[in-house]
Amino acid sequence: MTDERFDALLRQLDVSAAPDPAFTSSSLAALMPRVRAARVQDLSRLGRLRRDLRLAFGPASSRQFPRATTIARLAVLALVGLAAAIVIAGVLNRRGGSENGPLVVLAQGELRAIDVETGATRTILTLGEGAGHVSRSPDGRLIAYWKVDPGGDQLVFVGIDGLGERFVAQQQAMTWAGCVDNWSPDSRYLASEVKVDAVSRILIADSVTGTSRFVTPSGVVGHCPLWSPDGTSIAFAQEQPSGPGVLAIIGADGSDLHDVSGDIGGADVAGANSWSRDGIWIYFTSGGEIGSIWRVDVARRVSARLTTFKRFTTAVAASPDGSLISWIVDTPVGWDLYIANSDGTEPRLLLSNALSCGWSADGRYILARWTPRASGGLVVIPLDGSERRLVLPADRGGLDPDEICDAGWGQARP
């Protein structure tokens, strides 16, 4: 059965139907008190003012009012950044050995640390059901994960040793929205896309104070945040009131929101994936039936499409030194993992039936979810041409079939 035939079959379900008259009456009666309360509220002076403002400054103008930035906030941010840099330097000096640190994986409700060089695995913490979306800080000291709760998802930080679990204070009920969380380069802040009242916003959580705040203004719908290499800004895909989404950048303090994607021929930006270490390029993907890989020169706001595959192409990730990029291509039998030069030239197939989970910090490996017909699991693929290493088998490791890689290695993950 072709996809067209399949879609036509499914669309036969789309027919009109009349609700039960008894339901119509009972639900109408149940709604009336709420309608009356709304009416009273709207007739108040405040309600009228709100409506007038909405009409005056609504979608026809679509203006953004960036939040004022206080000098004190910047000073505190600078001090915090300095302190964090000192801490990171200390940790890096102590760590020695592998630059990559442990690969943190969530499987069968357990947080596990895996040394990909030796294959040694240890259990960090048992989280049980309802935990997921793991990420690890670049300095290797902290892990973040989300816990599903009936009142809204809860963000949690915990040390790499499983100690010091800390629930982040959240002022509103929210749910994790599906994009991989991204750590600031100083390993202090975590940027997440969350849904509040069904609207996607970018949340910044502070692992030191355990507090959180929204960086995007309430009227801005944002997806898939990405920290700049200097930790001062966040790039994200911004939905537009009309027309396709754009790639936007906002200061970490919520100031200076602006579009950087430039002319991308009407493509819809799906998310910011990778920011080159020198700060020049952001690699991003466009959505739609045929997703593509792009990169933009941030300062010049000029974008270039890097892939021209006829198939859906997504999950771009730049190597830490900026010389290579990886992406995946949808094929009739699964995903193919490619690498190419950073400008998209010389693409070559790295592994079939594999979904990319990003680069190691030293740029020697790509982590992937390998999905051949039998076995498979999480693998590290050395870029030197040596044999890939299965670090967590899917069958014995208890990997979630619907999660590509619930794992953190301290790098931006596509």
Partner: protein, 187 residues
């Protein structure tokens, strides 16, 4: 008509609907069937579930009336809210399935009154095939095929990455093909 004027008209329509009990009842009776139809065909033809989600949709619409900007008509706006309610339902169902560690095949009964299609047996086979899929796969088919949303937008609604959603769509189509063939063969 200018965009500002269209916006004002749309907002006024909602404002008028809320202005008196009679106006609300008239608006509700006009819009409910379309919202209900939208939901019923996307939730496995389960009238109770469609009613529950329709009720939630109107409650949310009243509570969030200040966010209606008039760029679309109110029914389109209501269906947008309904889609989010549907996504919440699928996510909850998916969580429940994972908890039980097995696929849940719901025994939903077709409402003869609700069906208006010309080929009931054929539609029943399609619905049975859909219902046999896990919640996440049902969701991706509803959003991508029935609602014609881009994969990225469906991914956002479902709280998954675009790549995971594309992969899920593959599995859903494969699963549907298998289930549909089996169902037709059984008949």
């Amino acid at each position: 008509m200018t965009e500002r004027a269209a916006t004002a008209d749309g907002v006024d329509e909602l404002q008028i609907a809320l202005s008196t009990d009679g106006a609300f009842e008239s608006w509700y009776r006009r819009t409910l069937p379309r919202v209900y139809s939208y939901l019923l065909s996307r939730c496995g033809n389960d009238p109770a579930l469609a009613e529950e989600l329709a009720q939630q949709t109107f409650i949310a619409a009243i509570d969030r009336r200040s966010r209606f900007d008039g760029r679309s008509d109110t029914v389109t706006w209501l269906c947008g809210i309904a889609r989010h309610k549907l996504a919440d339902h699928f996510r909850a169902a998916e969580r429940e399935e994972r908890r039980r560690m097995r696929l849940e095949v719901r025994e939903l009964r077709l409402s003869e009154d609700a069906v208006r299609g010309p080929d009931l047996d054929h539609r029943a086979a399609i619905e049975a095939a859909i219902r046999s899929l896990p919640a996440a796969q049902r969701a991706v088919l509803v959003f991508v095929v029935l609602d014609d949303l881009p994969v990225a937008e469906a991914a956002r609604l479902m709280g998954k990455s675009a790549a995971a959603t594309q992969s899920l769509l593959h599995r859903a189509r494969d699963g549907f093909r298998r289930a549909y063939r089996e169902d037709v063969a059984d008949d």
